[in-house]
Symmetry: C2
Subunit: 86 residues, 2 copies
């Protein structure tokens, strides 16, 4: 089994009100000069290894995790051999 | 400037209903054997470089981005020299 992380963000051209809210709140907490804050979804899941791993992860993200019209996603393998690691 | 990604997830012992909903929906879409789905927040932001980068990012996450009682976070640097890369 493989542990994969999928990060979903609004596309650059789409307004991100949650990111803007965080950006505005940070100076009041003493964090100056923080810019371009974007907020999205982080999904971690465990699935069977295989040559078609990339294909399966991309299909899952496209069909269920991200809205391809307004969001884009990236993914990465966190743990190649998740079962043995536990 | 440095581009940083911060991932916030509910702690392992906290129930994650959104992750469970995704886990239940996946077989109906043809994705079998996907387990341990956890859903959280993905934040990307740009901030000034410096020796205290880790300290600043951790303070931001603790104070604004994550609820330390029920959530944990990880972070990573995406781009060490974000201004020049643009």
């Amino acid at each position: 089994m493989v542990r994969v992380a999928i990060d979903v963000l609004l596309k650059d051209e789409i307004l991100d009100p949650q990111g803007q809210a965080i950006e505005r709140a940070l100076p009041q907490l003493g964090f100056e000069d923080v810019r371009e804050v974007r907020v999205g979804k982080h999904v971690e899941l465990t699935l069977p290894a295989g040559d078609d791993l990339a294909e399966r992860v991309e299909a899952m993200a496209d069909q269920l995790l991200a809205n391809p019209v307004i969001e884009s996603f990236t993914y990465r393998v966190l743990d190649e051999d998740h079962d043995r690691a536990r």
